[in-house]
Symmetry: C2
Subunit: 292 residues, 2 copies
């Protein structure tokens, strides 16, 4: 719940994802949350993320890159059949067959981060379940690439033989230990590739008694190192400047990894960025005066 300057009046988070919201009904989840926040019943609502997916609430068809940020927001879709004014922001698609990619939600983070970017070309890294690296040029998203880093950490730890090295519940709690930076170095070097290097963590447990916490950190560092090396191959082998949009543990891990890789990093809080982006989307959609 934000006032018209973008200041937070109240906040509520829940772990209900697209599947839960489909079961419970998107409108029910929204109205329950708004009532818990004490929001007036005629307050307009702007939404980004998976609610706009084909299997979400109301499909907000992707805007295509290259795309100006304001043009994304002006294509927001209205949710029909309810009293409240609710609009959902489109995601972004990159349709080139050899680099097909999609995002939903990160376009709004990008918009929130845009005012902090320097003139000309900027590369923005948004870590998460599906990490996105986007190329921005003066308010236009020119392209982006996804790495499944966060999802693959969970999947390796829970559903592969690495469960015997890491275990379901163990996360990397510190970027400072040897395990994490060693993993980053392995990912940056890349030699045999991540589908081989991940097995090396299992072998290190068997042969060198690698502890589960260190194994978790090495896997985390490996996947992030692989992402950074891939981004350099994708954008520029000499890439060494990036804007990192992240919060909490991801912020700590990515800062350390980017530093290890020799990057100069501009840091933007992910929660602030998404709120700033939503405020801008609300303005473009006439929910707020153009200048607050």
């Amino acid at each position: 719940l934000l006032d018209r300057t973008g200041s937070v009046l109240a906040e509520r988070r829940s772990s209900e994802g697209m599947q839960s919201a489909r079961t419970l009904g998107f409108a029910n989840v929204l109205e329950r949350t708004l009532s818990e926040l004490g929001a007036p019943h005629d307050l307009p609502v702007i939404i980004c993320g998976m609610a706009g997916a084909r299997q979400g609430w109301v499909e907000a068809p992707y805007a295509n890159v290259p795309c100006k940020l304001d043009d994304i927001f002006s294509n927001s879709v209205s949710v029909p059949g309810i009293e409240r004014m609710v609009r959902i922001v489109p995601g972004l698609a990159q349709r080139r067959e050899e680099a097909a990619d999609v995002m939903r939600g990160e376009e709004t983070q990008l918009a929130g981060a845009a005012s902090s970017l320097s003139a000309g070309r900027n590369i923005v890294c948004m870590p998460g379940t599906h990490s996105k690296w986007a190329a921005m040029e003066d308010g236009t998203v020119t392209g982006f690439t996804t790495w499944m880093t966060g999802e693959l950490f969970d999947v390796f730890a829970k559903h592969t033989i690495l469960i015997h090295s890491i275990g379901e519940a163990v996360k990397c709690a510190s970027a400072a230990g040897a395990g994490f930076l060693r993993g980053v170095q392995l990912g940056l070097e890349g030699t045999a590739g991540v589908t081989s290097q991940a097995f090396g963590i299992r072998a290190a447990t068997l042969l060198h008694d690698l502890a589960s916490e260190e194994a978790a950190c090495r896997l985390s560092g490996l996947l992030i190192g692989v992402e950074i090396a891939g981004a350099r191959r994708r954008y520029d082998p000499d890439l060494d400047r990036v804007t990192l949009v992240a919060s909490g543990a991801l912020h700590t891990l990515y800062s350390a990894a980017l530093n290890e890789a020799g990057f100069s990093v501009t840091e933007i809080d992910a929660d602030q960025a998404v709120r700033a982006g939503l405020i801008q989307a609300a303005r473009v959609n006439g929910m707020l005066p153009e200048s607050a």
Copy 2:
């Protein structure tokens, strides 16, 4: 059940892995199987694979590379406390910290394939849940590397967002279709890396209506292409000769992928190779005359 020349008298396969055998009792599983095969109660038994793991039946400690094949077999361990003579072949370990790796079972395939190798250095590819590429030099295993290719295919298809593109049951049925070879090319090129390219399959479903069968083939090709590119970085950038030890669908897929990558391939049937290796292990362990 083999005669002393290595010819198959009878065969039985079951899907009972290490966990089932631990629960049922390794001796019970073995004796039930032997009785179904009509094997005499004093027939000696030679075993390779996970039965020798620490969590298996009786630990057969790893032999370390570099290692002559016969030296592996002469370190087989006896199963104590049962009437029958049962020996378990050790696995192989590569202890160097920066390339820690282990195998159990493939050392026996390697021994079975060794007589078909040319003099000097050979690279042998043994695809599977955990694919192994081994360097052999005149009967000595000098080193090896694992790729989690088979396990990761299943895990991507069942436990990541790719479940919506592929689905649990779909496998790549043909190496001939566009999907598989396109995947191989993507894996060989590598640009953004496999943790990004796998997401491209999801995006291709959303943006270009990629069918689930073709998505499965593209993922399969991608992971195999990544393995081949990694093996080249690991062993020799110009590597273009390999001995492929494989059967069935894996044989078809790897042949096609290696061909696409410009390899000249010598093919050995994996089932025949493991039987030939077990016969050799039986000889080294005094279960058969040294020359049949």
